[in-house]
């Protein structure tokens, strides 16, 4: 049953990510209109609960989804099994989460100076 929980976690995280990816892509196109500056981005994100939740949940979903996808690939291509496979996937997931959380914190913490 544990294997199936992981399978469902990967499918459900994909479901969560789909709208995030679309909004994120739309936002990129919107943000580069008339040039891109750090001040403009930070002006939008700093102190914004919305963007904190948006990218915070995005990062969680990405960490789960990517770690589980790589778990499958490592199993089939690198022959990892059991504990070694799970530990490697956990490290990847936590690493992605740490980097993502750091980035989200950096752009949303604090108010406009």
């Amino acid at each position: 049953m544990r294997e199936f929980h992981l399978y469902m976690a990967q499918r459900l995280s994909a479901l969560v990510m789909a709208p995030f990816v679309l909004v994120h892509l739309g936002l990129i196109i919107y943000a580069i209109q008339g040039g891109l500056s750090a001040a403009e981005i930070l002006g939008r994100t700093q102190g914004s609960v919305f963007w904190f939740l948006f990218y915070g949940m995005f990062v969680v979903a990405v960490s789960i989804h990517a770690a589980l996808g790589l778990r499958t690939i490592l199993g089939e291509w690198a022959g990892l099994r059991g504990r070694a496979l799970d530990a490697t996937a956990a490290v990847i997931g936590l690493g992605l989460f740490a980097m993502g959380a750091h980035a989200v914190y950096a752009v949303t913490a604090g108010g406009p100076a």
Partner: protein
């Protein structure tokens, strides 16, 4: 084709302990000649030590499957003309994804062990003393079950599946299709046991739905869709339990 022409054939030789090597043969060509005819000719006229398997010669027993120019096929139902095409020679090897016993005979134990592991055995709803349960041939479940019952366990799909190659624990298309067939059988009593058996590591969730099994099954069966059915059934059970 005339009697004088010959076919060039490369045949894999050796046991599980040897590094495989290839022997070359020239086999007289005939009309309507099958790959199994070629293998039999070699064994009868060139090298009596050649080991291979067959029984029915008409695509019913599933014992003659081999790799022919890299493709898993029933050799008894494959015409030389079909595989030769522009190729200069035919290469015949034992079925992929399975250990070799000797020459062209693959060891099918792992394949059949996985049928058992996938809970591919019937759990009866009644005993022999009860009246026979009626089966509605028109029901949607019966249509799903009937779609897979013509499987003859030839392991062609198993040899075609790259996921089996990458993950030796993967139950594979035939065993999972069998589980789906039973799951949809009106006379099956333990669907939970089936779902438990096919949702562990190496179960239905390992399938990448690329469809080599369905593309190569000589019986035109569709294990890929059967496995998708198992995934859906397991997901439904997951939400039922959660909700």
């Amino acid at each position: 084709m005339t009697e004088e022409t010959t076919i060039k054939v490369r045949v894999q030789r050796g046991t599980a302990d040897d590094t495989p090597r290839f022997d070359r043969f020239e086999v007289p060509a005939h009309d309507s000649q099958t790959v199994l005819d070629v293998v039999s000719w070699i064994q009868q006229h060139a090298d009596p030590g050649l080991t291979y398997r067959f029984a029915c010669r008409v695509g019913m027993c599933g014992s003659c499957a081999m790799m022919v120019n890299g493709v898993p096929r029933w050799t008894c139902r494959t015409h030389v003309r079909k595989v030769l095409g522009d190729a200069a020679e035919i290469e015949i090897r034992p079925l992929r994804n399975l250990p070799v016993i000797k020459d062209l005979a693959a060891d099918l134990d792992p394949f059949f062990d996985k049928w058992v592991a996938a809970e591919g055995r019937h759990h009866p709803t009644r005993t022999r003393h009860d009246p026979i349960a009626p089966v509605d041939p028109g029901s949607a479940e019966r249509a799903q079950a009937s779609a897979g019952i013509e499987c003859i366990n030839c392991a062609v799909c198993y040899a075609a599946c790259d996921t089996v190659t990458g993950n030796p624990d993967y139950l594979g298309p035939a065993a999972l299709q069998r589980a789906w067939t039973l799951f949809n059988d009106a006379k099956e009593a333990d669907r939970d046991a089936i779902l438990d058996a096919v949702t562990g590591p190496g179960g239905c969730t390992s399938c990448h739905s690329m469809g080599s099994c369905t593309a190569y099954c000589p019986n035109d069966l569709d294990p890929m869709s059967a496995i998708a059915g198992l995934k859906r059934a397991a997901a439904r059970r997951y939400f039922r339990k959660a909700g």
